[in-house]
Symmetry: C2
Subunit: 222 residues, 2 copies
């Protein structure tokens, strides 16, 4: 067993990888990634996820053009003033690189879920289209990202497709019963995996009541 | 390194564990679980999660009473007719067991997120309170569940608190800026970990266009 598979090591080195090589991802590797997704928990084990693997040029071009347009539209102000030598600046640069190279990424994985009103929304308030149950899809999304890292694949979690999801339904034939929760571009990374940067857990943790601490476990910074 | 830590093994044996021993969970073990949570990705790496670890009797009793009430209220019809010898029946029985023993579970972990309108919701449509960004919190929730499994802890993902979240804010002092996304009851399992039951990934996968297949990878059952 390779140390690549140690779950804590995988988590601690699972950075968003946005610069990807065009080399294809073998089907048997992708199959392992998808199987990891289906291992996730879901409400009442209903497994309301569906995956759409997009590898053809027409599909990737269609998606990439819209994704790139909305990234520039949405982040125009931010990009004008950004300091590209800062961590946030480098992150923005990598995100824009991914956007403009989306059509060259070997696999675009659309993670979909059936639309369903959460039970906390009273029937009288159920107006318009229900969202998919994010809580039943995102655990699968995270399993997929972790499996990619364990298998040496670069990936990142994107949600900008929300700006043009209707177009995607029409082009890819996704039925109205389903929503697209996340899009994961997957390929072998051009760069190296590396440690992630996070605020330490105790700073994000409260004990018994909000704002209370417990040394070593909960030292909340509010 | 123990094989317990192999990421694919962990995923494949990560069942919801709803029968838990009252034995305490050591702080250093819980700290590892929370650190795993903070390794998750989040939009722009903003890490908008906060955790509330509830171990005191008053807090667990307050939460357990309401949780148990709503489980019975919400599933009254289902429970009346259920076949307890079926898989769904056994699952329902375990869920009701957890509900009525919630106050005896060693750790209740509230996974919270800051409220923020998703960018896909136009400003004119931003009415009422924004939900937390589920996509930025659920990957952390899944990391926490996987870490529990790797460390031999039983856990499950619950969302029934949505029915009485306002009460929780008042009792635990959770600020209005945050929402509670999921509650994870954690303890050492009374039963055994075991394989999960899932529909095979190829049945949930489409290739290039919805409904299209690719042998071995995508054999969609629609």
């Amino acid at each position: 067993m390779s140390t690549e598979n140690d779950i804590f090591e995988v988590m601690k080195t699972m950075r968003a990888m946005r610069r990807l090589k065009p080399d294809p991802v073998p089907d048997h590797v992708l199959a392992q990634v998808l199987e990891a997704g289906t291992c996730a928990p879901s409400g009442q084990n209903l497994q309301r996820w569906s995956f759409l693997v997009v590898e053809d040029q027409a599909g990737k071009k269609f998606f990439g053009e819209r994704y790139d347009y909305w990234m520039r539209e949405r982040f125009a102000d931010v990009l004008r003033d950004i300091d590209y030598s800062s961590a946030a600046g480098r992150q923005a640069k990598a995100a824009m690189h991914l956007a403009s190279h989306m059509h060259e990424v070997p696999v675009l994985l659309f993670c979909c879920g059936t639309r369903d009103w959460p039970f906390a929304v009273a029937p009288a308030e159920r107006v318009g289209r229900a969202p998919p149950s994010y809580g039943s899809i995102y655990p699968a999304v995270q399993n997929i990202l972790l499996a990619c890292r364990a298998l040496g694949l670069g990936a990142s979690l994107t949600t900008m497709h929300q700006m043009f999801e209707d177009d995607m339904h029409a082009f890819f034939g996704i039925p109205a019963t389903h929503g697209v929760v996340a899009v994961i571009p997957i390929g072998y990374p051009a760069g190296k995996f590396g440690p992630i940067t996070r605020e330490p857990a105790p700073h994000k943790t409260h004990f018994n009541r909000w704002g209370q601490g417990k040394p070593g476990l909960a030292e909340p910074m509010v």
